[in-house]
Amino acid sequence: MSIDINAHYDCIYKYCYFKIKNLHIAEDLAQETFLKFIKQGSYVDRDKPLAYLYTIAKNTCIDYMRKPNYAELTEEILAENDFEKIELKRVIREAIDTLPSDEQELVFLRYVNELKIGDIAKITGVSRFSINRKLKKALEGLKLVLREEDFFE
């Protein structure tokens, strides 16, 4: 099985954005991820290609963050007309930021990139059972934070 780059481009782009919080740099890193993936000579027929792709993306983002001139960026305010929507997005992202980093990643992979539990298990190297448990815990945590923000009103 190989990867359809066109189909996964946006997901990897979003994933890098989730890590780096800058659109322009995220896209650079996403493209670098695909180039590395292909350069490995393993584009054709490799086991767990999706897990391999996400691992490259993660490591590429980590490498970027390790650079001496890297400064953590504040979230970009994306062009949006509806102020309420912008505010809601900010609240949700801030709530997600309160979660432990592994739970943040699981929430992102499951609910933003909409990966199957099996694929997430391959990417993270954690059992399906553990992922389900952590996701449940993460959602409970988010509900708790968002209840304070009157999200469910």
């Binding site: 481009y9 989730f18 062009a79 999200f151």
Partner: protein, 245 residues
């Protein structure tokens, strides 16, 4: 909408980002490495049905066990005339695999790959043929150990029925292109096998009955015939048009 569903939807929309304007250029300029010929060759092994290799092994083992179980002191060429009669079935095993794309109308599917149907058939035949060739060499060595005939005579003994069946099967596949092609190939194999047994019974040892020169000329003629028929078969695979089956 329940709370969980609402929350999941909001999480998704919280990370919505503007559509990339560099994606199209990136994908256009991306050079994806293509599979090389060696990888293509190896990959074809996976697509050959495993039972084909299994049947080849079984036929070979039957031949070897039969040969080894015959008492060498009472050995008579007539007793082992069964061996070259089994050889056409080696060819039949290959023929059933090669004609599969015709039998199951797979041609269109295979035409969409980087390599043409002709190339795919050549590779698959090469794989199966190599396995058969190894088996035939084993058989030749076993016969050499049992019989006091020259290697040349024993080679004729093995390769003439083999090549005759190859020629007949290819000829059939060139002229019959339908789901029954396997039955016709089976007919060829059985005919060669029976002819072999009958000629042995009639002549004692037909390779001694006629001069070696005759059999060598026949061998060369069969090799030429097989090459011509194989070329014709490969060329014909390039003549298929989409949806013409």
């Amino acid at each position: 909408m329940n709370k969980d569903k609402k929350l999941k939807l909001e999480i998704k929309s919280a990370y919505e980002i503007p559509e990339s304007n560099r994606k199209k250029d990136f994908l256009i300029n991306l050079e994806i490495p293509k599979i090389n010929f060696y990888e293509f060759f190896i990959s074809q092994i996976k697509y050959i049905r495993k039972r084909i290799f299994f049947i080849q092994l079984v036929v070979m083992l039957i031949c070897l066990i039969t040969l080894l179980s015959i008492d060498s002191t009472s050995l008579n060429i007539k007793y082992i005339s069964i061996l070259p009669s089994a050889i056409p079935f080696f060819v039949l095993i290959i023929a059933t695999e090669i004609s599969r794309s015709i039998s199951y109308n797979m041609t269109e599917l295979e035409m969409t790959t980087k390599y043409s149907l002709g190339q795919i058939i050549i590779v698959r035949t090469a794989i199966l043929g190599s396995v058969n060739f190894i088996f035939l060499i084993f058989l030749l060595i076993s016969l050499k150990l049992k019989l006091e005939y020259s290697t040349l005579i024993l080679s004729l003994y093995i390769f003439i029925p083999f090549l005759l069946t190859c020629f007949g099967s290819l000829y059939v596949m060139n002229y019959i292109r339908n789901k029954n092609v396997n039955f016709y190939c089976a007919g060829v194999s059985i005919s060669v096998s029976l002819a072999n047994i009958l000629l042995y019974n009639a002549t004692g040892n037909m390779y001694n009955y006629l001069s070696v020169k005759f059999w060598l000329i026949l061998l060369v003629a069969l090799i030429v015939g097989v090459i011509i028929q194989a070329k014709k078969f490969i060329r014909s695979t390039e003549e298929y048009n989409w949806n013409s089956l």
